[in-house]
Subunit: 176 residues, 2 copies
DNA sequence: CGATTATTAGTACGATCGTTCAAAGAAATC
DNA sequence: GATTTCTTTGAACGATCGTACTAATAATCG
């Protein structure tokens, strides 16, 4: 008594397309009709797939976490400065700028609707913190995470790779 | 040939009320009718006062900058560590948490709509950076700003004042 | 006083929002 | 082949959105 099986590949493909649309057009413009038009489907298809807009948003932020937060780990046994440098090079990658802009857009909205984004807020600090704390103490891990996030914010705002790069180098050098 | 004079006090009062509403209800819920109802006026009053919703948003983010970014300056001649500590104590003030949540909500949206928020993005880093750079070099100023912003993000997310406070202390101590 | 401008209100318009409903084709099991 | 489940569609609903228009009242200048 099993009907047509779930097409997981199609579901992942749809979610990735939604995230891509959000990266391009902004988190605030994530509405059924323009999104569906851009994806070449009807709004009903998206509604059926995600259930509701809030559930779709939850799926998007969860995928974002997978793409961004999980990128932090693991350290592969190298020492902390080398580990932090590698993470920095990843998060400062210009190809990732769109993803991080969306990340901070979701983050900002999450801070103003904590109950709706409880999942996001529960992991956005705790997960990378645990990764950094494995190679240092909790205070240093907190500092590393905060500094990296702040530097990325600066980079996304000003685009000044030279100045921000110097600051990142100085920070990493001081970790030794 | 001058008619009734502009009531600047009333205008400031209205803008402050709008910012207060945004702090409470979130940046995403900033729409004419619920806002007007909460403020005890009609939507038309707000439209006439601010011109359009986009102009109102611009006014809100400008007021936010005045409240938050300007709070960073000045250093009053004390050395950098003492200056940074004083700024940290201000931005970590629990009474300011609502304002900073709104700040990061606006910031996140600004990153995804740079042309609309050009004013905000043009000042959000440059202004405090100039304040910190007056007492240090550009690299250190960049690092200080990024770290403070990141620590505030952590604090708003987790509320873990102890852990974040330890990290802030360690950072400031390392500035000497 | 008359002219002018600011402030506030009431009404209404078109657009877009999220969501629901009925229905058709596709892919699996029995 | 009948049944079941997944996928997708088109049409439509009520609600809310930003905004324009008209008008009344208040405060200033000439």
């Amino acid at each position: 008594m099993a009907g047509r099986p779930v097409d997981q590949q199609r579901r992942d493909e749809l979610l990735d397309a939604v995230v891509g649309y959000a990266v391009e057009h902004g988190f605030a413009e994530l509405t059924w009709r323009p999104l569906a038009t851009a994806l070449g489907v009807t709004p009903t298809t998206l509604v059926h797939r995600f259930g509701s807009k809030e559930q779709m948003i939850q799926a998007v932020q969860q995928r974002l976490r997978e793409r961004i937060i999980t990128e932090t780990a693991p350290s592969d046994g190298v020492d902390l400065p080398a580990y932090v440098r590698r993470v920095w090079e990843r998060v400062a990658d210009p190809d990732r700028a769109g993803e991080f802009r969306l990340f901070f857009a979701v983050y900002g909205q999450a801070l103003q609707a904590p109950e709706t984004f409880a999942d996001f807020l529960g992991h956005v600090v705790a997960d990378p913190l645990a990764a950094f704390a494995a190679d240092s103490d909790e205070g240093t891990a907190t500092l590393v995470l905060a500094t990296l996030r702040g530097l990325v914010l600066d980079l996304l705002t000003t685009g000044d790779r030279d100045r921000v790069g110097v600051a990142a180098d100085a920070f990493i050098a001081r970790l030794r």
